[in-house]
């Protein structure tokens, strides 16, 4: 039920707490540190760069969670990789 006054008030801080907790726990439970994620990011970049021009700054990679088929929460790796253009194939360049 929505309180009349809550329409005008600040966002509820408990929701900020919940969102932060959920994110922290995804990392804790997956036993995945920021370092590992950074290494993963660099490796992905290197592979993709062979085929596409990408802007390193635009790459966004993060852990989150999603519901599996059996409705359990499972960790998920999401990568958003905008690219500028596909590199021409090696032989086309010749």
């Amino acid at each position: 039920m929505m309180d009349f006054f809550s329409l005008f008030s600040k966002p509820q801080s408990k929701n900020i707490a919940k969102d932060r907790l959920k994110l922290v726990l995804v990392h804790d439970r997956a036993n995945c540190s920021v370092d590992v994620l950074e290494m993963l990011k660099n490796d992905i970049l290197r592979v993709i760069a062979k085929y596409m021009d990408i802007d390193d700054e635009e790459l966004d990679i993060q852990l989150t969670q999603t519901k599996s088929d059996t409705n359990d929460q499972v960790p998920m790796l999401i990568a958003n990789i905008p690219f500028k253009n596909v590199r021409p194939k090696e032989k086309d360049r010749e």
Binding site: S6, S13, K18, R20, L21, K22, D28
Partner: protein, 263 residues
Amino acid sequence: MGEVIVITSGKGGVGKTTTSANIGCALALAGKKVALVDADIGLRNLDVVMGLENRIVYDLIDVIEGNCRLKQALIKDKRYPNLHLLPAAQTKDKNAVNPEQMLKLCESLKEDFDYILIDCPAGIEQGFKNAIAGANRAIVVTTPEVSAVRDADRIIGLLEASELRNPQLVLNRIRPEMVKRGDMMSLDDVLDILAIGILGVVPDDESIVISTNKGEPASTVDDSLAGQAFRNISRRIMGEEVPFLDLTSDSGFLKRLKKLFKG
């Protein structure tokens, strides 16, 4: 044959010792034979919360090292005849005990007591491993804060990895007014995040501070709301079904005023 229950949390300062003392007293008042074991070697506190600090002669390490018999080290609480305390050593450190020794200690306590409550030290190192070694059941205490819930999640994982399945949660220091205006996570919010069953919710209550000052756990005080919450928790431990306290009804001046006008 008794049951060994470890009271743990990961994070320090969320109310493990207070919870241990209060559940212990409530179980004893309900007629059960209870042994409270302070497993926080080097930083003992359960004795002061219980008001038994002046009666310590021997401690847990003395028992384990064979300096005294178990019965000599157990302090009998004169106020509650069913209640006994095995204090921690203050001068040794956590590595003075190992899990096998704790297991053996728990097994011998089980012969004489209905419930053995182990007050676990904060952290996930040796002291934690010792405290859970002889346990049949685990209670995880947390407060509705990000850091405490995060550590509780870690502890739940570690308990399950140690074959202590189905730990139960005590959500401590809930402030109903803050929950109501959305500035504190509610029980449902916490249960949404942690994969655990709920044993009870305890309000943040001045009576806890007062009773800790005096060394008389709140669960022995009739008009303490937190004490009532702990008595309910102990009844649930004994297998009774007890409805959760309605923490939203009677607190706050404005609410009491509203109630007055409503009749």
